[in-house]
Symmetry: D2
Subunit: 354 residues, 4 copies
Amino acid sequence: MAGNTFGKLFTLTTFGESHGEAIGGIIDGCPAGIEIDLDLVYRDMERRKPGQSKIVTQRKEPDSVNFFSGIFEGKTTGTPIGFNIVNTNQKSHDYSHIKDTYRPSHADYTYDQKYGVRDYRGGGRSSARETASRVAAGAIAKQFLKDIKINAFVDSVGEIHMTTPYQELDFDKIESNIVRCPDEAFAEKMIDKIKEIRKAGDTIGGTVMCVIQNVPVGLGEPVFDKLHAELGKAMLSINAVKGFEYGSGFHGASMLGSEHNDLFNADGSTKTNLSGGIQGGISNGMDIYFRVAFKPVATIMQNQPTIDKEGNATEMQGKGRHDPCVVPRAVPIVEAMAALVLADYMLLNKGSKI
Amino acid sequence: MAGNTFGKLFTLTTFGESHGEAIGGIIDGCPAGIEIDLDLVYRDMERRKPGQSKIVTQRKEPDSVNFFSGIFEGKTTGTPIGFNIVNTNQKSHDYSHIKDTYRPSHADYTYDQKYGVRDYRGGGRSSARETASRVAAGAIAKQFLKDIKINAFVDSVGEIHMTTPYQELDFDKIESNIVRCPDEAFAEKMIDKIKEIRKAGDTIGGTVMCVIQNVPVGLGEPVFDKLHAELGKAMLSINAVKGFEYGSGFHGASMLGSEHNDLFNADGSTKTNLSGGIQGGISNGMDIYFRVAFKPVATIMQNQPTIDKEGNATEMQGKGRHDPCVVPRAVPIVEAMAALVLADYMLLNKGSKI
Amino acid sequence: MAGNTFGKLFTLTTFGESHGEAIGGIIDGCPAGIEIDLDLVYRDMERRKPGQSKIVTQRKEPDSVNFFSGIFEGKTTGTPIGFNIVNTNQKSHDYSHIKDTYRPSHADYTYDQKYGVRDYRGGGRSSARETASRVAAGAIAKQFLKDIKINAFVDSVGEIHMTTPYQELDFDKIESNIVRCPDEAFAEKMIDKIKEIRKAGDTIGGTVMCVIQNVPVGLGEPVFDKLHAELGKAMLSINAVKGFEYGSGFHGASMLGSEHNDLFNADGSTKTNLSGGIQGGISNGMDIYFRVAFKPVATIMQNQPTIDKEGNATEMQGKGRHDPCVVPRAVPIVEAMAALVLADYMLLNKGSKI
Amino acid sequence: MAGNTFGKLFTLTTFGESHGEAIGGIIDGCPAGIEIDLDLVYRDMERRKPGQSKIVTQRKEPDSVNFFSGIFEGKTTGTPIGFNIVNTNQKSHDYSHIKDTYRPSHADYTYDQKYGVRDYRGGGRSSARETASRVAAGAIAKQFLKDIKINAFVDSVGEIHMTTPYQELDFDKIESNIVRCPDEAFAEKMIDKIKEIRKAGDTIGGTVMCVIQNVPVGLGEPVFDKLHAELGKAMLSINAVKGFEYGSGFHGASMLGSEHNDLFNADGSTKTNLSGGIQGGISNGMDIYFRVAFKPVATIMQNQPTIDKEGNATEMQGKGRHDPCVVPRAVPIVEAMAALVLADYMLLNKGSKI
């Protein structure tokens, strides 16, 4: 109920600042008897990890996850799964330059105003480092979901928009390139763009698309906890996200009803899927797909005028190792949050009928 | 916790099907001592009401709200505020044509699959009639919020996009025309478009923009319950919504960090506001603004092929009184949900510091 | 989440002051497809109703329940069940004598201090009239629970303690007498005692015992939401309750382990049941039984010294129509709250295993 | 919302099995700016620790708490406080004798039935080892509560009931003896009793009383989340608890209204306090006091007949190091749970008035 718990029945509660002792979390409500392959956790951690390629931050953090409970002899026990990820990197930097200075478009100012005190080192709680816990938990949720397949990928970087419909993509190619765009021609352009932006000491935004397949009919809890509403909240809770759309999305707002309606096949599936796999807030068995907009990273390698705690004008120097574009590393985070939502709604749906 | 409750401390729980006895709700957690002007409730109900103009559905529903509790001698008492709105219209129609037939892009199919039984009359629980309870509750929340001003308006209808920046708009003009667009030149075009679409027996989508002013710094509960994440969920829970973006939104995803960062003034306000009034999930005191995409209404006045419960092919006839475009009536609903989120986060924020 | 919602998945939210327009509630999360017999609701309402016998308050309140939604063609639809009970009696009394005066051991003072404003008429929200909504909802929950049988009965009135073990009682006799004690010899003594106390213008406390049979193994959500912990909270939330014990209860605290352990039969049942049907917070399939202590009603027909809002000494006159002993009417309330807990935990348990 | 989170705003989520890698938890919602003295945490951990005296289990567990986040430069930051306690003892025992055997009046059988799989080593999740996390979190909550003083102590062991009214006790003497009874004459008798019981290879129950002083008026969230209802749930969630009563408790059920009513002083305080500091579910500023009944520990040093997983008769041998009486070590656990409830209700109360 406090803001660091996500979900109702399959819940994740996280803790941790970027430069404290450790980050981590507790998964509660995961059903018993699920076989857990820890390699699948590590694989997703690798996909989120800093330093994994030339187009992401060059910080080195091993990000190994320690599981403390809830898994016994290779299976979940139905009890909470506690874990942490030690911050090995936390003493190597000097943060005096941001201690009393508010970085533009960061959360320094708002945390200070809200809480009156903050761990200023590396962004503290507002750092995207926190999403490592989400990825670890999402990897457990994916194993509960089993046949439900969640594939996220980079859809655009800056003005470069992949135009290939998702149905024509080979999701196995997502990991074949460092920007995680399954269309290799677009991937190349995106990578070049990010390199160019990095060289200029700037950053750039992008979008991630996510497709969820093999979803059972019936997930969603109207009228407030519609499936897409919770997916939207999940995505908007990720650092740097500015927008969410599913199915026809914003484009659908300019369409006619006669164009937009998805006509039925005899088996209840639909001929088109502008609905995005959800009708009335409940999954209809078609693919769920949505897009997530990420703003450019606020930390740029350029000097910017700003203020300190007392409101005095000062200058923020661009330094450190930061991502020029967040979307390649955001892909597993989007998948993780989608997995957490789906896992929760699978459990919530169990009470719908007697 | 079940899906019909919204909020954590300032909560709204709703009930009701479009053609049952009544719809209504319970507001719980509203602080004591707030003076309630019922005329402000009635005014918002009028703005959402069917039959209010030529470009909305011509159904007649008085939608008067009966308050049962929680308000005593003109003030809230801190106890739950129960209310209902009687469905006066519920026996006047014949619903046999939709009893066993699934309307395309409606929730008939998914409700039936999820619950195994459904009140098929007029959409039942999945009808947008349910939003009347939200508007009633939102009107109470607005009175708690007092100086926080929430103004929503129509931003686009189909391809007609108002291009005027919101800072140049006069919000007092929102109610001066029936489409609720404060730029009268655009309003006229939108109205013409909707009339044209209605004549064709079709429907059209649109977008609603919402601006929230005088928000105190500090609202938002990271890391999952960020203020914009809850606003997004609130909007996505409204019928027909396909997308949500705040601040720079999807456009921000194609920008550079050097363009996107909001530089500070000495008082902590920012020179630009691409952040949309929220940084790190916490309000920073600048205007909060966001856009909501509504798909075209699924009920069109044209015959459509569809299936019945047994999967047999059949035809859905276009009849009844329905909105050709949902956005004019969606304006007070967007405001209501924004008010409910803000009210909740005002209370949640009280525990941030000692 | 605010204080007027009970349960997590099968939830009841209530509203209403004793002398407002109406009281009522919303049941959310009740599974779809349950056949509802409204006569069973009315029967439980009759058991709680004022004026039902000579040993309860002589106020006349018909307490008929209006259901607004969620039940269609005799079955639940999985959508929220809204209902109210109109306060027909609300204008017949003069409450000026308690408007500014705090009744001893009532909630007048604490409500005033907490909320700063209160509906003083007849106790307002703190009146036990609110429990009528619980009984209505509990009667729905019982129909969901079906084979799980919940029987509450009066166990003691003042010093008169029924000593018959519950296994020897015929629960069909609970309704055979006006005090609702299934042992008729004790019932007679209790009725005489209450009549004597009433004549003296005084009130007396008592205890209610509740036995739940045919409970499936596995209900309970450790470590905090143990089944008995939630039953305890449910009972302690009823007006005038001062204590709760289950199984061996307070007596168990003076026993030895060698006496207290319940040894197993081959089928997993136990030879004794000092555990009260719950081990480690999870039902074990044996009968669940617990006892609830009710203090004497605070409103007595005697004058008492007290204070007014300004702290001035004044006198509270004993008048009105009140219960001399609350336990006969508390029996259906205890059952209702037990039913709500069980219904909730039935749904929560669905996610325990895959 | 899953069962391992306690509280609404000031929340504790715990994880861990007795013989897994570690136990621990996350405190979320603790306000920012509270100075934390870790010695106060360690002091409470010492009070709960095994091996602390001759009348408790002789297991050696250092129980040092590692804090990972949420405390910075000696103050809380308003972000989650993650911590763990490593299980140093976990490999030293052989648990093959309980792997497939159900210990009488333990949770082995119910966990197996509910989850289908369980960590059988030392009770796993159902072990009282889990309460160490509660004590750590309670020690943080106490520092937030500051002037609210919570003192628990042993009230009875078996048939030995301390008869001294709590008002005559010197709470500073609670820690002066190993049974934690502030009346030394009774303490001595209790200690002798426990030694005698231990020698017999048996165990014995007891009760803990708790007194909370300096509570502000207004804590409690009627009608379901009354302050005493949540205190009751908190206590009933502790291992081995069978009953809870506050104020006059079960004894109050045999009293007359004319005896039981607490008459007011001019300042709103009351001359007597049979209400136990709570009226209508809301604190009235008087001392809150309650009693908690603990059954005898189920693990006895005697052989007992029982069954295995297949329902075959077998014998459970009495061995290992276990508490002959749980109440001396339960004292800090009762205090911790009381502190968690109070902290939560302090935050919940902030929204009562505008």
